[in-house]
């Protein structure tokens, strides 16, 4: 079967091609984690390199096992996160599907997505012999305490000092405010795109969302995502006006949980489309929407709040609440839960969440990048049985 393609995806490729080109020419660059407050970097004209996005790209290129092998040969266990393994593998290999990432001037890891990034970036810091700044965000199991926010807030100021010291550049207040405004605008534009899935039939699937999420992660705080997602929304609106769904005959509406299985995106997309099921939304891309709200008076405090209360840094009750909100908003019939060997903070607790959410769910075992952890027959049987149960 042929999947429906969005014109946006071609533009996205151009945009990201440009982003990677920029990196090769950038004077100063930093490797950053996906949940780090990148606005501070863009405001200081520092180019952010995203090893996680690079990991996803390696997965999508089905090169996971190949690059992971370089790290495994050095002694990195196969049980470690496959983003980290592949990325470290690329450093040792001296190349990657995009010819490797530019060497960092410094490293910036924020553990609001996992503690793995601290260890991963320590490894990088020893390899490249460059300084590493760790932004430590306490885990918000229940309540977001003021002491948490204060701690993160103080570290943000410390980070600015750190960058000024390492690069000799200075942060201008107006430039930061400008960047933050663009970031908020970009996030809103992206949210508008995802929210289109509320329509029945949905004009997009979560696979469209996955493929097109790189700009909001990597270019957040610049003009690009604002324009890109506005354009993408227009295209989706055209579909809605024609009454056209992303899946030909949308019978079942589903929600995806966890990071995608990058090397099988197409396989999953076809699998569901053939069975008249549409994965209209997911917890991964939706975690990027509405997460930023800027109080103009104290932008550092607002940043500290939003970057601490991020989807993966909150307790199970908060997570289940967020999922139930998505279930309700997108009116889905069931949840497909990816138990992702690579991502412990995203995956542990899923069995509990199954009991806390309002619709039936199914768990499939896989890994985001390492295809050696994927068994097609096993996944197929679980998903088919789940769809039989829902219909």
């Amino acid at each position: 079967m042929t999947l429906k393609k969005l014109r946006a995806s071609d533009r996205m490729k151009q945009l990201m091609g440009g982003y990677y080109m920029m990196g090769k020419q950038a004077e100063v660059n930093a490797w950053v984690t996906s949940g780090a407050p990148v606005e501070l970097l863009y405001a200081m004209d520092i180019y952010p390199v995203y090893p996680e996005n690079h990991g996803a790209l390696i997965g999508a290129a089905k090169q996971g096992p190949y690059f992971s092998d370089f790290a495994e040969k050095k002694g990195f266990s196969r049980d470690l996160c496959s983003y980290a393994r592949c990325d470290i593998g690329c450093v040792y290999a001296g190349t990657s599907p995009i010819g490797g990432l530019p060497e960092p001037n410094f490293l910036f890891a924020c553990n609001n997505i996992c503690n793995t990034v601290i260890k991963w970036y320590q490894v990088l810091s020893r390899i490249f012999k460059v300084p590493l700044f760790v932004l430590d965000t306490p885990f918000v199991r229940k309540e977001l305490k003021e002491s948490y926010v204060r701690y993160v807030h103080d570290q943000l100021y410390e980070f600015v000092d750190f960058v000024e010291r390492v690069t000799g550049r200075e942060l201008s207040d107006s430039k930061l405010r400008e960047t933050l405004a663009k970031s908020v605008e970009g996030v809103n534009a992206y949210a508008d795109v995802l929210h289109m899935a509320k329509h029945k039939p949905s004009p997009l699937t979560c696979f469209d969302a996955f493929i097109n999420m790189a700009p909001i992660v990597c270019l957040r705080g610049t003009e690009y995502p604002i324009e890109f997602y506005a354009e993408m929304k227009k295209e989706l609106m055209e579909r809605v006006e024609r009454g056209e769904g992303a899946v030909e005959n949308e019978e079942v509406r589903l929600l995806w949980d966890n990071i995608p299985v990058w090397y099988r995106l197409r396989w999953f997309a076809e699998f569901f489309a053939e069975r008249d099921a549409c994965l209209v939304a997911d917890t991964y891309t939706n975690a990027w929407t509405g997460f930023i709200s800027m109080d103009k008076s104290d932008v550092f405090w607002s940043m500290a709040e939003t970057y601490t209360f991020i989807y993966l840094n909150i307790g199970l009750e908060h997570m289940a609440e967020a999922i139930n909100r998505l279930i309700n908003y997108y009116d889905v019939d069931g949840v497909v839960i990816h138990s992702n060997r690579s991502c412990k903070p995203y995956s542990f607790g899923q069995y509990e969440i199954q009991k806390m959410i309002d619709v039936p769910s199914v768990v499939i075992e896989a890994d985001m990048v390492d295809s050696r952890a994927f068994s097609e027959a096993q996944v197929e049987t679980r998903l088919e049985a789940f769809l039989e149960m829902l219909k």
């Binding site: 039936p360 049987t381 039989e388």
Partner: protein
């Protein structure tokens, strides 16, 4: 109306022929590497046994691990739905179905005659028929004999490893240290039972609990599971063909 259900598993293939809602014939054969051929073979043999011509069969539903290889089937349904339907056919009061398959084990909870929830083993083979097979091999006995051997056990040797590969070497080291074969076999049954019951805890276990699949013929397994679950377990008269019968019932619908 005559219909057929074909269940192509990883170890055996089964076919059941139903006339209206009555079981007229069935066959169980070992699978060969060519699943399509296996399906054809089990189907033909069952037809022969029933004295029914192929043209008389109005609809065929395939299920099991190899369901997508049965090109002559009219429809494919997963073994989860089929085991549930088949279990109710044999035991109408069934509310929970446990199936220990070659590749996959599953626990299915049924409400109003339909699958309400199900869980399956994670990637590893512990708690599946494959685990039993590997262990039988390591001990140099046949899989079919395991149940009888376990009945002779005085105690159950503890098997700690949950991974099939590690459990195999553990079993070998138990042998080396002079543990009795029957005690080790009892330990293996216990290990699988606790694996399955742990998995079952993710759904609600409500009686009647029905055990399906070839392993259901193994009395020691039934006993080990009953001890862990705390309910009596019912076994259909032909546990191995429950999936095939379920598939045939889907053909009727």
């Amino acid at each position: 109306m005559i219909v057929a259900g074909i269940d192509v598993g990883s170890l055996t293939a089964k076919c059941a022929l139903l006339k209206d809602r009555e079981l007229v014939a069935y066959r169980v054969i070992k699978v060969s590497p060519n699943l399509e051929e296996t399906a054809e073979k089990v189907f033909c043999e069952t037809l022969e046994k029933a004295g029914i011509r192929r043209e008389e069969v109005e609809k065929i539903v395939a299920t099991g691990y190899g369901r997508n290889k049965v090109s002559f089937a009219d429809k494919k349904v997963t073994e989860i739905s089929c085991h549930a339907k088949g279990a109710i056919f044999f035991i109408p009061t069934a509310r929970t179905v446990i199936d220990i398959g070659g590749q996959d084990s599953k626990v299915i909870s049924i409400s109003n005659g339909k699958v309400a929830e199900f869980v399956m083993n994670d990637k590893c083979a512990a708690g599946t028929g494959r685990f039993l097979e590997v262990m039988a091999n390591a001990l140099g006995v046949k899989v079919e004999e395991l149940g009888d051997i376990a009945e002779r056990a005085k105690k159950a040797t503890r098997i700690s490893s949950t991974c099939t590969v590690f459990a195999e070497s553990e079993v070998i080291s138990h042998l080396a240290s002079g543990e009795k074969v029957e005690d080790i076999v009892a330990g293996i049954h216990e290990a699988i039972a606790s694996r399955i019951v742990a998995m079952a805890q993710r759904v609600r276990i409500v009686p009647d609990v029905v055990l399906t699949g070839g392993v259901a013929k193994n009395k020691a397994m039934k006993k080990a599971l009953e001890e862990k679950i705390g309910f009596e377990i019912k076994i259909p008269p032909e546990p191995q063909i429950v999936g095939a019968v379920g598939a045939a019932l889907f053909a009727l619908a």
